[in-house]
């Protein structure tokens, strides 16, 4: 068999151009297939880890997906608020390690305003346990000094060119985008940006974060969603009022031990006095992703088709070359090559080409990953790492190899038939 394999290599070398083009086609399709698989995996992981350090999200009684959407993704609105007393009771549960309240309802140029405490920056985690980092500046100070201080997400800063020190005005209401309905500006009480967060790839990027007292302060002369006519309290005077929150929209809760999560969830859901819902964000994120997952599977199917096209092209090139190579095969037969050796020659050749395509495709993918990773991370918060192929990717590669093995049998079988039918007759 060895002379046959050596001949195969020489024969491939003789048809360099078509062979190289075919290998490139296979490589591109393999790189596409793995790239789609890897991107959608990373997107899924990134999505599932939008909020990773939080064990429970608590809000008013309602659907789990709805709660997650408005509290974490800032999509839609809460139907009800949660009273501060409930917050205190949850925080007092023995298994609860920390509780970060979130108050929504205001916006700034289409970006959500999140009223919270400085604990948010300590406890919010995304990705693989990554904490929020400051690109510039610092956390807003504790009330009363920091009432009118704000921290903006990376997207907010990038879009509007914000830097620490700039003053911004919040608007009441949060529906729609920049042109959406806003009811009124809190123009009398502007906020000063004190910090800009580094990009996270989560909705935090599109948030303006202020202290809960700030949210209370801008609504102190409001009632029922509108300024109270004739009443205007200047920013300097709000400090005299009680700015402790009466209610918030939701809360992120961390536990001492994850094992207790279902017990605490049940305790909160059945808490007397106020109808509440506690959800496990990871599980609900998976549920949400299953809605998005259809597109992911469609993409994978399309790239699998591209691989099939690539392999079909490879088979076509090898089979087309057979016509010219019937003479070559007859010479080999005359020299003592058996039909099985002829079969092996062609099978080896196609398999070698598809293997080369797969290896080149992998190299291409890693090249792109290394080059594009910083950009993807900065632009989309997608964290592509040039890791070894995952189990799923190995399975895909195995499937491609299996398909190319099957494809290689086509020219091999034809050559086998030729070599039996032609014998030593070299038909020109």
């Amino acid at each position: 068999m060895t002379p046959v394999l050596a001949l195969s290599l020489r024969s491939i070398g003789n048809r360099r151009l078509s062979v190289v083009l075919t290998v490139i086609a296979v490589a591109l399709s393999v790189a596409l297939l793995l790239g789609v698989e890897r991107l959608s995996n990373d997107a899924r992981e990134g999505f599932a880890q939008t909020i990773s350090g939080t064990d429970l999200v608590v809000g008013a009684r309602g659907g789990a997906v709805q709660l997650l959407l408005y509290s974490v993704f800032h999509i839609g609105n809460a139907s009800n608020n949660v009273s501060w007393q409930s917050m205190e009771r949850i925080a007092a549960l023995p298994q609860v390690k920390w509780l970060v309240p979130i108050s929504l309802g205001d916006s700034h140029r289409g970006m959500r305003v999140v009223g919270t405490t400085a604990d948010f920056f300590a406890h919010y985690r995304h990705g693989a346990d990554r904490a929020l980092a400051f690109g510039q500046g610092r956390v807003f100070a504790v009330a009363p000094d920091g009432i009118f201080e704000a921290v903006v997400g990376a997207e907010v800063a990038a879009r509007f060119g914000y830097r620490p020190g700039q003053r911004i005005v919040l608007s009441h209401g949060s529906l729609g985008g920049e042109g959406g309905p806003r009811f009124a500006d809190h123009a009398d009480k502007p906020f000063t940006i004190v910090g800009v967060l580094a990009r996270t790839g989560t909705p935090v990027d599109r948030s303006v974060l202020v202290g809960l007292e700030g949210i209370e302060a801008i609504h102190i002369d409001w009632h029922g969603g509108a300024p109270i006519p004739g009443l205007s309290i200047a920013p300097e005077q709000v400090r005299k009022f009680d700015l402790s929150p009466k209610s918030v929209t939701a809360a992120l809760v961390g536990l001492d031990s994850r094992i207790a999560v279902f017990r605490v969830q049940r305790q909160i859901n059945t808490m007397a006095g106020e109808p509440l819902t506690a959800i496990l964000p990871g599980a609900t994120l998976q549920e949400l992703w299953s809605l998005v997952g259809m597109a992911e599977r469609a993409l994978l199917a399309v790239s699998a088709l591209v691989v099939a096209v690539g392999l079909a092209g490879l088979v076509a090139v090898v089979v087309a070359s057979l016509g010219e190579r019937r003479r070559e095969l007859a010479i080999l037969r005359a020299l003592g090559a058996s039909p099985l050796q002829i079969f092996a020659l062609l099978a080896f050749e196609s398999l070698l080409l598809s293997l080369a395509g797969i290896v080149l495709g992998l190299a291409l993918l890693y090249g792109v990953v290394v080059v594009a990773a910083p950009w993807l991370s900065a632009q989309y918060g997608l964290n592509l790492a040039p890791d070894w192929p995952s189990a799923g990717e190995w399975r895909l590669l195995g499937a491609v190899l299996g398909a190319s093995l099957a494809a290689s049998l086509v020219p091999a079988w034809r050559a086998y038939r030729y070599s039996l039918a032609d014998g030593l007759t070299i038909r020109i």
Partner: protein
Amino acid sequence: MTSDAAPGAGCAAVAVSGLRYRWPKAHADCLAIDALTLVAGERVFLRGPSGSGKTTLLSLVGGVIQPQAGEVSVAGQPLSRLSTGARDRFRADNIGFVFQLFNLLPYLSARDNILLACRFSAARRARLCAAGVSAQAEAARLASRLDLDAGALERPAAELSVGQQQRVAAARALIGRPGLIIADEPTSALDADRQQAFVDLLLGECAASGAALLFVSHDLRLAAHFDRVLDLAQINHAAAAEAGT
């Protein structure tokens, strides 16, 4: 000079008896030959117009196809008693082929084309080894005997003239001293004045190595220096001889 290295010395180089061959899907026999024998070292000119079943006969003698009836023996070995794989090895070891055209793999040098015969046959290598010459040296010796200069040996086969290609093919057939050389119209692509020269070279080298030569051509002008001249039309009794070539 008789063959002392080739196997089956003393046996007939080729013995055909009671042969019947019909191509698959054909309605009538293509070949029906009662008897045909080449003794060892004998050089036979087999004349046959195209369509007379020449190439079919050569495929049968080469063991590439099997007859429906009768027996073909090469160097005393009945081919039908060998398995398919063993027949392929037997062919590699004992028979050298020279075709009408396109004898060489275009992407190998002339030298590698000659050596290819040795790569497929352990017996040819062993015979060279027993004679105390390397395959490389033998390839060079045959090339010089066949008027191929050293420069031509290194060139890719595709760059050689047709005449050079046919001489490379002859060297490849002869290397390692197989007992039988089969030539199928090897001169038809050559100029008329080169044809006789090539036939004489081939005859001379077969004589030198002790190989029997079965030379098939439609051109009787080349038959002058052969030991024997046969007409396929006379020994083939098949009615539909023109069914295959």
